[in-house]
Symmetry: C2
Subunit: 233 residues, 2 copies
């Protein structure tokens, strides 16, 4: 049994990112599934001891506890000495991975997650302003990704995949649950998504199994009008 | 002249964080002031070439360009080999600094910055929901900081100050401009704020000069009812 314990629910975008890095690199770990849909995180005493925010993913290794997916991804790369491209030792290349991981929070993460939650999960209005704000955030963010970040790069920080790509792709795939490609109409982003999926198979499909299942069963409904984001505003 | 160029406006919280780390460590740099109040960032071609998001802070060193304050803080520590406590080499201690820097975005940053912008800068309604959401976010975040993160620690990740503390304190001080201590009523946070200020003087006051000036002139108004956040909801 591995001494590395990871609390996840693969319906959670950052949980998928951490699981995907571990799976792609064949790192053994003890997976503790916390079912968010059933509200298990709210009363999970073991999770709360590791992460007082009671969110997944969270990591425990011996007495060491860690939360926040970006920090966990970095820690896994460094503590397991993963191939350099995941989180380069070169200061400038590493800084570009850090730059994306920081930028992600206020752009792709907040845009995709708040929109999805407001439209498909939240039971109480008002949610309209959240959806409007989220789409505006994503429009700006996708322009940066499409026109600058990915203009000359195969991946977000260069020619090799890194934890920045894993963090980003696992957020965008959330909307697949309702049949929506939020990045539709942005050619460089679409090309990059395809490159990520190719690079991360077969583990990508394994980690996204729950997403495919939710979509096929229509558990969160289906976007009946999946026009490009640009044309919706 | 230093080869390190930093684009800042000290009215911007993350700009102050980067400037403070540089000043406290006596690192020479070429400061390019971008006046956000005058909208200079919107048409600043030099800034846009460094950061297509046209936000400050941004860093340029030779051909290398970097944005996002968290990434810049890490890069400065590593490239200047600053004293270890700022961004420890030990993997677990470093991971805890990364954990805070990631957590910061969706908690202290979004809570403080969106609230301040909506209440004191935005010219167009509706802003009420933003203020309500921001206060709710801060209430949760302050409980975590006060009751867990700072319960047994002098600073956010232990007994020594790090870039996590600099990032956090520079966000909280934004509300000083209107005479509001957002963390009022949280004893462990109040103690930590005092410890940070003591540790970072005299550079703390230098970097915050513009904040003190704005407050004394009442440029953004004054909070006439600065009750603790807890009692306002």
């Amino acid at each position: 049994m591995s001494g590395l314990k990871i609390f996840v629910d693969l319906v959670s975008q950052p949980s998928r990112a951490v699981a995907l890095l571990l799976e792609v690199n064949n790192i053994p770990y003890n997976k503790v599934v916390v079912n968010l849909g059933k509200g298990e995180h709210l009363s999970h005493s073991e999770l709360k001891a590791v992460n007082p925010n009671t969110k997944v993913p969270a990591l425990q290794e011996g007495k060491f506890c860690l939360y926040e997916s970006g920090a966990i991804l970095r820690y896994i790369c460094s503590s397991r000495q993963l191939p350099d491209h995941w989180y380069p030792k070169d200061l400038e290349r590493r800084a570009l991975v850090d730059q994306y991981l920081d930028w992600h929070h206020s752009t792709i993460r907040i845009g995709c997650a708040h929109w999805f939650f407001a439209q498909h999960i939240a039971r109480q209005p008002p949610t309209h302003h959240v959806i409007v704000d989220s789409k505006a955030t994503l429009l700006k963010a996708f322009s940066i990704l499409n026109d600058y970040t990915l203009q000359d790069n195969k991946f977000l920080t260069g020619e090799m995949i890194s934890i920045a790509d894993i963090q980003a792709i696992c957020e965008l795939t959330q909307h697949w649950m309702v049949g929506r490609n939020v990045y539709s109409g942005y050619p460089n982003i679409e090309k990059w998504v395809a490159a990520c999926i190719k690079e991360l198979q077969p583990q990508f499909d394994q980690v996204h199994g729950i997403i495919y299942k939710i979509k096929s069963r229509g558990l969160f409904g289906t976007d009946t009008n999946p026009e490009p984001l640009k044309s919706k505003l």
